[in-house]
């Protein structure tokens, strides 16, 4: 190790990452999910199983809370004591929020979960020792631990089921934490292709598995830095600022509201996933 490096770049190292004066330069992957479009159909969740080699744990392990659904659909009722949930359910696709100031990153003892330059919250399975501190500190509880050794467990991938496994994604053994990666294997390929052509990844060039299947197109994913990206336009239009724990618009008492929000924003996690509130007609 080089002490000179330390001394030369001291001010650099003391800079908070990322911050207002040091924004992402090329990529900042982000998502927005329109809860009014989401129908709760679970297609995204299955797509995630297919893309990311998630193990099917079976009834008994599911009962013990050992399920692996990086993308899970939550269903809330809001019937306020009325007899029926007569305004329907509120479905919420919950996945790793890829927080810009992720509580999980700082606590990992071995540095298995870090922030990438693209604003992803990375999880390196090889480095993970399984202390599960990251999960303990994750307010959204979107990290999933390999409680058993699924590659060797019967009925998870009995032959020839293992042939379906995606070779671009590691199959995780026991004792490591895992979570949504924003389909980093796809991002890497897209970035590499773009780089070969000497450009940045264009909007729509890469899709996450969940976004790709979503029948109603509720999920938008893209590069927040790219001014042409739909996701960035959405964030801008909804006046949701990445590095804020309180949005200025929330204070305004306008008749017309913007429906973009982030979950548990007040914990200062700066999530990279913006949700758009579900709408309900008041005329009926």
């Amino acid at each position: 190790m080089s002490i000179t490096n330390l001394l030369e770049n001291w001010s650099d190292f003391r800079h908070q990452h990322p911050s207002e004066d040091r924004p992402h330069l090329e990529y900042k992957w982000a998502m927005s999910i329109d809860l009014d479009s989401c129908t709760g159909c679970n297609a995204c969740s299955v797509a995630c199983y297919a893309e990311n080699n998630l193990p099917v744990v079976g009834k008994e392990k599911f009962a013990h809370g050992h399920s692996h659904h990086w993308m899970r659909i939550e269903r809330y009722w809001d019937n306020d004591g009325r007899e029926f949930a007569d305004q329907g359910a509120q479905f919420l696709p919950m996945l790793c929020q890829h927080c810009e100031s992720a509580p999980c990153e700082t606590v990992c003892p071995v540095g298995a979960t870090n922030h990438t330059a693209d604003g992803l919250n990375s999880q390196v399975y090889n480095r993970c020792v399984g202390s599960r501190y990251c999960n303990a500190n994750c307010p959204y509880k979107v990290r999933y631990f390999n409680w058993y050794d699924y590659p060797t467990t019967d009925n998870v991938w009995p032959a020839p089921m293992e042939q379906q496994l995606n070779p671009d994604v590691t199959v995780r053994g026991k004792g490591v934490m895992e979570k949504c990666t924003f389909c980093v294997q796809r991002l890497t390929v897209a970035k590499s292709d773009a780089r070969t052509e000497g450009r940045l990844v264009l909007d729509g060039e890469v899709q996450t598995a969940c976004q790709q299947v979503c029948p109603t197109g509720a999920i938008t994913f893209g590069n927040l830095v790219d001014p042409l990206a739909k996701v960035g336009k959405q964030w801008m239009q909804q006046q949701v600022d990445l590095n804020k724990d309180k949005q200025a618009k929330d204070a305004a008492e306008d008749a017309v509201k913007l429906r973009g929000y982030r979950i548990l924003e007040e914990l200062r996690t700066y999530p990279s996933v913006m949700y758009l509130e579900q709408l309900r007609e008041s005329a009926i």
Partner: protein, 201 residues
């Protein structure tokens, strides 16, 4: 009276030498060779004949003539038998050589040759040939054999390829931490990517 100091001196010396060894051990094996095992292949492919220098009797064929996927895929790939035969059906001089006969046996059976992997990274590693070739061959204009040789060693002097470099993580990092010119003419440099997800799947 101060004979006891000998022990203290010994202790301090031990600590110092252990420390300095540790610091030395921390240095990655940047250029050191770490010869891999000999890999038994279906038949010996003479890399030296194909890619070796003309002076040594080689034909100086570009690596990417056969390993054609290297510039557009994460793997360099093995040429299909088709490609070998494409040339060899016109080279009568060696047509009866045992290796060539074997080649044609596979071709006639329309079977792929079961080559064994020589440079086999662990399955959780995402090493992208395309990126490295694009950067070092196409952007920086390095000779192909030199660029490939960073990791694959001096293949043009081998018959059956054999791993020459350690291909360990520290070895990869040692190069990623260097400043590399961004193209053939520019003086601007950049380093290899450093976030975990670039290489870990």
């Amino acid at each position: 009276m101060y004979s006891f100091l000998r022990l203290s001196v010994l202790l301090v010396g031990l600590v110092v030498s252990a420390g300095s060894y540790a610091v030395k051990a921390a240095q990655p094996l940047t250029t050191a060779d770490d010869l891999g095992p000999n890999v038994e292949q279906p038949f010996e492919f003479p890399h030296d004949r194909h890619a070796g220098d003309a002076a040594d009797g080689g034909m100086e064929i570009n690596c990417m003539y056969c390993h054609t996927y290297a510039r557009r895929s994460i793997v360099a790939g093995i040429p299909p038998v088709q490609k070998c035969v494409g040339c060899h059906q016109n080279i009568e001089s060696v047509r009866e050589a045992p290796r060539i006969k074997k080649l044609f046996e596979y071709w006639d059976a329309k079977k792929a040759i079961p080559w064994k992997k020589v440079h086999d990274l662990p399955d959780f590693v995402r090493f992208n040939h395309e990126r490295h070739i694009q950067r070092f061959v196409f952007a920086q204009g390095k000779p192909v054999q030199e660029a490939c040789g960073y990791c694959h060693g001096d293949v043009k002097k081998m018959t059956v390829a054999r791993r020459q470099k350690p291909l360990s993580m520290g070895w990869c990092r040692s190069c990623h931490m260097k400043d590399h010119r961004i193209d053939a003419t520019s003086t601007k440099t950049s380093q290899g990517p450093n976030d975990c997800w670039q290489c870990h799947k």
